[in-house]
């Protein structure tokens, strides 16, 4: 059995009296897309926030590729290869695709104390390639993100994570507010991640989406994991019963 890409032991988190995470133990295998499901308030958002460095856990440990990891900020999570795509997709509408792709990680030709001149040619060329790699077709990297459809935006966000060689890609309700066709496109992106050995964690209210795009499903309720099975060995009915 390979080293788990992410290994969580005894994770606890309280929010003003609410036990949001109550002893989570979880191992994620490299390249295995996992669906994380649960009702509102089950703790899945909290778990994701801890993994993406937005919130600090009160106790417990997280290992990334076997090494103890301190996820203190989104940046430190990104440095360990954990990227998150949110439903609002963390792209700036008034900026171009190329600028969005490199936001906060701009390649510089010259820099002084972290601030410097951006290598705009590299940004345009690499973003064109990164977008083509996720099978998204845009006319130009100079297009403003605000002009793209919801599905295309998620494609850009996923392309960004792929470009920076993320090992774990957390997708937090990426299909909310999307049309049926756009949704299936995004689910297609998720399925494509396994081929590139990226571990996808898909958070969704829609169990059907999880069943078509993941190989394993983890269900949470009241801060605990209540079910953890291969998709082939469970059913939508069984999951609905536990959450």
């Amino acid at each position: 059995m390979p080293t788990p890409i992410i290994s969580i032991r005894g994770l606890h988190k309280w929010y003003s009296g609410v036990h949001a995470l109550n002893g989570i133990d979880l191992d994620l295998e490299p390249g295995e897309p996992v669906g994380l499901v649960g009702d509102n308030g089950a703790g899945k958002s909290t778990l994701i926030k801890v993994l993406s460095g937005v919130e600090l856990p009160d106790s417990g440990e997280i290992r990334v590729e076997g090494r103890l990891a301190a996820l203190r900020s989104p940046k430190s999570a990104m440095r360990l290869g954990i990227e998150t795509v949110y439903q609002y997709n963390s792209l700036v509408p008034n900026m171009s695709v190329a600028r969005n792709l490199f936001i906060g990680r701009e390649p510089l030709t010259f820099s002084l104390g972290g601030v410097g001149i951006m290598d705009q040619r590299k940004m345009r060329e690499d973003s064109t390639r990164a977008i083509a790699d996720v099978d998204l077709h845009l006319r130009s990297p100079d297009t403003l993100v605000g002009e793209l459809s919801g599905g295309q935006r998620q494609g850009v966000a996923i392309a960004r994570a792929m470009y920076f060689k993320s090992k774990v890609l957390i997708l937090d309700e990426p299909t909310n507010h999307l049309s049926v066709r756009e949704t299936s496109k995004v689910l297609g992106f998720v399925k494509g991640l396994a081929a590139q050995n990226v571990t996808a964690i898909l958070i969704s209210h829609n169990l059907h989406h999880v069943f078509v795009s993941c190989q394993r499903v983890v269900a949470m309720a009241r801060g605990k994991i209540v079910l953890d099975k291969k998709i082939a060995e469970t059913s939508i009915d069984e999951i609905v019963d536990v959450i």
């Binding site: 990104m78 963390s90 509408p93 008034n94 936001i103 906060g104 001149i117 951006m118 006319r139």
Partner: protein, 325 residues
């Protein structure tokens, strides 16, 4: 062709330049050729760097999603403190440095209060507008002190270069606009400013130091306002305590006329400078055309509303022109 049209429509400063040319032609005819005469252009170019520098700092702050109503008061306090220090025997450069420091502190306080207590910068800087103005008047005792002109290296500030068309301040201003535009368009810091004003949650989740970006913009805006006021006082040779009143409104008007969005995230420094220039041209052109100067504010008001409506129309139209998807 379609591409050229789309590029044109996406750049509100181009529409501003077009309007500028039309207005200049109009005033040139109405004033019987005085508007573009050497003496008049010389006068307009003397005032432009002062208003322009304030607008530059203001526009960058607005693009990062914040606001500074205190620029008019800061415009007055820096030259006032320099004048008083000179009269107290402080040599010029230390006095100048302290003046810059005072502005930096005001900018820092604007940022600190706004971000620490999470209140709108509109309120913080409105308070600062009154407080700094009051300080300036108290410092001066209500009357403009004498300006020790002989202690000031005027050649570096407002003297005409070689007795020609341009003052030294104009050269500084051109350099400022070039540097500020390059920061916005070519550096990662410019990218962070746009992202912070465009969608702060996204900027934060991508690890951009949004607080540091805002602090920098607030402080830069105050320092530029102070420097601009200092240049104006050196040109007029008298530090009036009420200098720069309602200047903040001109800075807002200039910025939005030039296509900077009130909500942040959108706009360019060059656009805002074109906006500031438009205001100067209208001010001067109305006088030279013998139109009652009291129409100036009406014209600026109408232009502001017209420009914002026009800019959002341009942006929508540009968005609708889809080249091959």
């Amino acid at each position: 062709m379609k591409r050229a049209l789309k590029i044109y429509l996406e750049k509100p400063e181009l529409a501003g330049i077009l309007l500028l040319i039309v207005l200049m032609a109009f005033f040139e005819v109405r004033s019987n050729g005085i508007f573009l005469s050497y003496q008049n252009v010389r006068g307009v170019l003397g005032l432009l760097p002062e208003v322009g520098a304030v607008t530059t700092g203001f526009a960058m702050l607005m693009i990062c999603g914040e606001f500074d109503l205190s620029v008019g008061s800061v415009f007055a306090i820096m030259p006032m403190s320099i004048a008083l220090m000179l009269n107290a025997g402080v040599p010029f450069w230390p006095a100048f440095a302290v003046g810059v420091l005072i502005c930096a502190i005001i900018g820092f306080l604007n940022a600190f209060i706004t971000l620490r207590f999470d209140i709108p910068s509109f309120i913080t800087t409105l308070g600062m507008l009154f407080m700094v103005r009051s300080l300036t008047i108290v410092m001066s005792g209500g009357f403009p002190p004498l300006l020790a002109v002989d202690k000031i290296p005027m050649g570096l500030f407002t003297d005409f270069i070689g007795g020609g068309l341009f003052r030294a301040s104009f050269v500084w201003f051109v350099a400022l606009v070039l540097v500020a535009s390059a920061i916005m368009a070519r550096t990662n810091f410019g990218n962070w400013i746009s992202a912070t004003g465009g969608f702060i949650e996204a900027a934060r989740s991508m690890g951009i130091p949004v607080t540091r970006v805002k602090f920098t913009c607030f402080m830069m805006c105050s320092i530029l306002a102070g420097l601009a006021g200092t240049v104006q006082v050196f040109r007029l040779k008298s530090p009036f305590p009420n200098l720069g009143e309602t200047l903040e409104l001109q800075a807002i008007a200039g910025s939005v006329i030039g296509g900077v969005a009130l909500a942040g995230g959108v706009g360019t420094v060059s656009g805002a400078v074109v906006g500031a220039l438009l205001i100067r041209v209208i001010d001067n052109g109305l006088v030279l055309s013998r139109i009652d100067a009291n129409w100036f504010k009406f014209a600026i008001g109408a232009l502001t509303v017209f420009a914002v409506v026009g800019n959002s129309w341009l942006r929508r139209t540009a968005r609708r022109i889809k080249l091959e998807v």
